[in-house]
């Protein structure tokens, strides 16, 4: 926390968690998709569902998917902006279970070129967020750091490959998490870094045997 978290942020109202946080979930999802979204099916859970319309949570999520920032005047008009930009969207109620944060949304996204992504994001207070699920696999990152997400087969050596690449590129790891669907199944590693990862490093990972998908979330 710094002084600009106390006196700030500058944001479109009415709620840091239901509006600003929702914009951020949209922003991070857009970057994770890596392309202009063309289709978005959005499930609202808990308090997002109960008070979302009154807080503009729906318009905030769409604004975020369009790349608007939390202080953009156009957030209330994001639905018409989405129509202009060819983003088709719909909302539905969703129950993500007891363990899900009350301010959660599930976004099923498709880009124009057909790239697909499923994200579950939670707004955890004061406009801060946490991405809780990516393509059905558990995750936990804030979008405050450059983040590398690697989906791979659960076999020895992949962590070493990724960390040696980062070491080679002079990138320091801030946090690292590992999850898997089951022994020998699919695994995901999520690394929050202190520096941006060069594009060729990310590309190199994509070509490794056993690596299924590489997603890079850049702050740039």
């Amino acid at each position: 926390m710094n002084i600009f978290d106390v006196v700030g942020p500058v944001m479109v109202g009415p709620s840091s968690s239901h509006t600003a946080g929702a914009v951020r979930i949209g922003n991070v999802s857009r970057k994770l998709l890596g392309e202009e979204p063309a289709e978005a099916k959005i499930g609202l859970h808990g308090s997002f569902l109960a008070t979302g319309a009154g807080h503009g949570t729906d318009r905030a999520l769409i604004a975020g998917l369009l790349g608007l920032s939390v202080d953009d005047y156009r957030i209330p008009d994001s639905f018409s902006l989405a129509r202009e930009r060819g983003l088709h969207f719909s909302f539905h109620p969703v129950d993500l279970g007891e363990n899900a944060h009350p301010n959660s949304a599930k976004l099923e996204l498709k880009s124009r070129s057909g790239r697909e992504l499923e994200v579950v994001g939670a707004s955890v207070g004061g406009g801060r967020i946490s991405i809780r699920e990516l393509d059905g696999l558990e995750a936990n990152f804030s979008g405050d750091y450059p983040t590398l997400i690697v989906h791979n087969l659960d076999q020895p050596g992949h962590v070493a490959e990724v960390t040696s690449m980062l070491s080679h590129k002079g990138v320091n790891i801030a946090t690292m998490q590992l999850y898997r669907s089951g022994r020998g199944g699919y695994a995901v590693m999520i690394l929050e870094c202190d520096q941006e990862i060069p594009e060729e490093g990310v590309k190199w990972l994509e070509h490794l045997e056993g690596v299924v998908k590489v997603t890079y979330y850049s702050l740039l």
Partner: protein
């Protein structure tokens, strides 16, 4: 970030520097930011506050229909010379409503410390600048004073209604504004911290009971009491009145009171005004609308 107001005050004495400078220096050190960049960023925050007031739209009503257009009613009565309040406090009241209503209507505001309490600081600070013609740098310095106070409250207690009730939002905003107002009037570091303590102590225990869970009723009107409370707390501290309980202990009391509040009264939209028959009815109507949309 400083963890006690006492430490800031002691450093002011030891280093013979103003309150705002110590807060700024401490934050810049932690964030590895230059003091110049930090100051310009804070200037942007102050300008955004000014803009949030200027861009008020008197015809706008919130999505739920529960709030909007009230600040204009105060303006008309103020201009007719009919308010009980004098011109200064009349403006404070009107501004608190203007900015808080703007927030509910999805306009741009500065969350200071939160979106729900965004009307308090601009109501006090902008109106003081208009009256005394302080230059912009001085207003930016006042924001550091407010930020330093808010930082201590955030660490010792909370700035979130869901954790500490409305006292954590409107109360904190009020304490921050009171301290900033004392700074603008040239008060000592001691007076700054005691203005904050008086403000917090005066609305200790305020519950967070938003109707239908929205940042509208009673949040918008509570911005007025937060701003007015800051003005009177500033005047008391500038008159030489001191809080009998040390400021840091008042903040600790706010934390324990927040903990003792039942969940119904911590932003769940169940207790207090939200739990009244009318509050419940509004909530049902809003929920029905959500399912249809």
């Amino acid at each position: 970030m400083y963890k006690t107001l006492r430490e800031i005050e002691e450093d002011c004495r030891k280093e013979n520097l103003p309150f705002w400078k110590l807060v700024q220096r401490d934050d810049c050190h932690e964030e590895a930011m230059s003091e110049e960049d930090s100051f310009e960023k804070m200037r942007g925050i102050y300008r955004a506050m000014r803009e949030s007031d200027e861009r008020y739209d008197k015809n706008l009503v919130s999505h739920s229909g529960l709030v909007g257009t009230d600040a204009e009613k105060v303006r008309l009565r103020r201009e007719a010379g009919k308010l009980l309040c004098d011109d200064f406090t009349g403006h404070v009241m009107e501004r608190a409503l203007r900015v808080a209503e703007s927030n509910a209507c999805m306009k741009r505001i500065v969350a200071a410390p939160t979106a729900g309490s965004c009307g308090v600081m601009p109501a006090v600070l902008l109106t003081m600048q208009d009256r005394f013609q302080f230059d912009e740098d001085r207003m930016v310095e006042a924001l550091y004073v407010a930020g330093g106070i808010g930082g201590v409250i955030a660490q010792r207690a909370s700035l979130a209604g869901a954790e500490g009730g409305c006292q954590a939002e409107i109360g904190s905003a009020s304490g921050m504004a009171a301290g900033a107002a004392v700074y603008l009037l040239g008060g000592s570091a001691d007076a700054i911290t005691h203005a904050c303590a008086i403000a917090l102590a005066s609305i200790l225990g305020l519950v967070c009971d938003p109707v239908a869970g929205l940042v509208e009723v009673p949040c918008v009107k509570r911005n007025v009491i937060g701003a007015m409370n800051a003005v009177t707390s500033c005047d008391m501290a500038m008159s030489g009145i001191r809080s009998r309980i040390p400021p840091d202990e008042v903040i600790d009391a706010m934390k324990s009171v927040g903990r003792a509040l039942p969940e119904e009264l911590r932003e769940t939209g169940r207790g207090g005004l939200a739990g009244t028959p009318t509050g419940v009815e509004i909530q049902k109507k809003m929920h029905g609308r959500q399912e249809k949309s």
